[in-house]
């Protein structure tokens, strides 16, 4: 009997106009988003390769270690292939950081920065389509699942037979959900095939696992709205009321809660602004630079070569002093900046954590967080990347200072020194391992399952007790 109910639900849905409309729209949007994602990834890859080559050329063209240390090296963030599915925060945050001996590095030049219009509407990626469009379809498929049958009278006719209500609602859930998945699965499979055959797109085994986990999250997310639809449909007496309630809940879940939670977290857990931190860093830098001039001139006065002494010995001594002094001063600045940054990042993370936890009540937030983590385009991955750049900064500074001081020119000839980059330490960043990303997404998977169970049990109990007249 369950099979008959499931079959009827599927057949009834796929022969309806709403199914045809949903299928066409889903196919167009999903394929469009995959095409756009792939095309964006390719252009990002090109941009990334060009930026790496340009940086290398710039470094090689430096005429002295001093200019190299001042100008620094540029670190570019490599585009993520799964960003084609979930662009995450990648388009909003910077993609390149300059690491030099002077300033604390920060990621700048985001896509939104170069073209602000994108920030108005956001990216049309697959996650967006599932989050907004398909969740609305899930509501459209279920708002009258029970109340509609009650209104039409088919529920009475069905239950005038030996049909247990629990089996009926289970059949409705399975059949209806399968019907909803058809417009999703077919274009998704096509999208995956496009990913497979696209030139310049290479996905590792791990990437495919990540992609499948993202799809699993999509299914769970849609199940949440599907079971919510059944729940509301089982508790209302008119399909128009059911639709309005569901639409209201959808707006709350998808738009209000995520935005409100960020605002609430900012109010509940205030942190200093980036400008305040920068001002503190600048103040300390000025203080160090001010005292440095005095210390250098004091040292020179004390160690100035006496008449008859070999000036070359003095040059050797002053080189050694300046290298040590420079390393010490830079270390002081770096340590101070690191401490300020550490404190700021801790407070920022605490605020972010609060916002994330508050917003997690909404399945839409859970969907976003999990897919971003799996695609490695989330806030955490961004912060890990930024932290790796900040960790690289003292390494680069130490190398640059050493090279700069060892090659100080006291001859006054202004002769250029050949800059050798062979031993320049390189920035290293290892993308988050799958196991870690998966652990990070576990609360989101758990939340989805809990919501599905709560809404489905709600629908189940409501339907068992429902007045079917």
């Amino acid at each position: 009997m369950l099979k008959d109910i499931i079959k009827k639900e599927i057949l009834e849905t796929i022969t309806s106009a709403k199914f045809v409309f949903t299928f066409l729209l889903c196919a167009i949007l999903i394929l469009l988003s995959v095409f756009t994602g792939i095309s964006n990834y390719r252009s990002d890859q090109k941009e990334y390769s060009a930026a790496l080559a340009l940086n290398k050329k710039n470094l090689e063209s430096q005429t002295s270690y001093a200019t190299l240390a001042q100008l620094g090296t540029k670190i570019n963030k490599a585009p993520q292939v799964l960003g084609a599915i979930a662009s995450g925060v990648d388009e909003a945050v910077g993609r390149v950081a300059t690491v030099n001996i002077a300033y604390d590095p920060n990621l700048v030049d985001s896509k939104y920065e170069s073209n602000p219009i994108f920030s108005v509407f956001g990216a049309l990626d697959l996650t967006f389509i599932v989050k907004i469009v398909l969740s609305l379809f899930a509501i459209l498929f279920t708002y009258d699942a029970i109340v509609g049958e009650k209104e039409r009278g088919t529920l009475k006719l069905t239950l005038s037979n030996r049909v247990p209500r629990d089996r009926l609602i289970l059949g409705k859930f399975i059949g209806g959900f399968v019907s909803l998945l058809i417009p999703l699965i077919i274009p998704l499979v096509l999208g995956m095939l496009i990913l497979l055959v696209s030139p310049n797109i290479s996905m590792s085994g791990e990437d495919w696992i990540r992609l499948l986990l993202m799809f699993l999250m999509f299914f769970l997310y849609l199940s949440v709205f599907f079971s919510l639809g059944l729940f509301v449909s089982a508790r209302t007496n008119r399909s128009s009321t059911s639709f309005l309630i569901l639409l209201f809940l959808w707006v709350i879940f998808v738009t209000v809660i995520p935005k409100l939670s960020v605002t609430a977290a900012a109010q509940l857990n205030r942190i200093p602004s980036v400008h305040e931190i920068t001002a503190k860093k600048d103040a300390f830098l000025q203080q160090v630079q001010g005292s440095a001039q005095k210390q250098v001139s004091d040292w020179v006065n004390q160690n100035r070569p006496k008449p008859g002494e070999d000036p070359k010995a003095f040059q050797g001594k002053i080189k050694k002093f300046l290298e040590d002094f420079q390393q010490e001063s830079t270390k002081k600045i770096d340590d101070n900046n690191a401490a300020l940054e550490r404190d700021y990042q801790l407070r920022k993370r605490s605020q972010e954590g609060l916002a994330v936890n508050l917003s997690r009540i909404s399945p839409a937030s859970a969907l976003m967080f999990s897919t971003m983590s799996l695609a490695r385009t989330g806030i955490d991955e961004h912060e890990r990347f930024l932290a790796s750049i900040r960790a690289y900064k003292p390494i680069f500074t130490q190398w640059a200072n050493a090279r700069m001081m060892r090659n100080l020119d006291f001859t006054g000839t202004g002769q250029n020194v050949k800059v050798v980059l062979d031993d320049m330490p390189l920035h290293k960043f290892e993308a988050e391992a799958l196991s870690k990303s998966f652990v990070r997404t576990l609360p989101d998977f758990g939340l989805m399952i809990v919501l599905i169970l709560v809404f489905f049990v709600g629908a189940y109990i409501s339907f068992l007790k429902a007045d079917v007249r």
Partner: protein, 238 residues
Amino acid sequence: MIETIELTKRYEDGLLAVDHLSFSVQPGEIFCMFGANGAGKTTTINLLLNFLPPSEGMALIEGIDVTKEPLRSKDFVSFVSENVTLYGNFTAFQNLDYFSKLAGKRKLTKIDYAKALTSVGLQEEAFDVRTKNYSKGMRQKLGLAIAVLKDAPNILLDEPTSGLDPKSGQEFLKLLLKMRDEGKSIFMSTHDIFRAKLIADRVGFMRKGQMVMLKTRKELEGEDLTELYIQYMDERES
């Protein structure tokens, strides 16, 4: 057999919809229940189908207490509602197939469906048409075909002839008589005194949840059913 014993339904707001109602419909009998809107006819059917729990008393189908064994009791009863609205995207065949399977008739073929549809007077051209394009009469016939295929010994009809054109109404009554002759117990709530008069073996009048009059076909001979109906309606008004 369809039977109610002191069947009572009082809603939470205190409204007494059915008040200690006792009657039975024997095999091979058509029982027509009259009453104004809100008299309790449909509530009685809902109680017999266990769509509502009774406040007191019992509703029995083939001697089975529908509250104690709701699923088993449904094997012995068919239901045709006032407005048979089926799955509009399905054809008559598809609707029959689904509801027959729910009724446990899994071995029926398209030939059986065609026979049932023909027996209720539905034209062959309509068999494969989506039922959302059906007229009310066609839907009622299909509803009855579902009951025919279920072949339960008891049939509950809730104002089944309302809105039917004369020809469809006539065909509908013929089919009910045929089913009665096959030994089925038929309980029909209706306002349609003209058609009921033609087929009813017994009639009952309900008012404020109570059966205020019960007459057999024989007792009705020589009486004007229309006047009786109006008389009871007037009493209700007064």
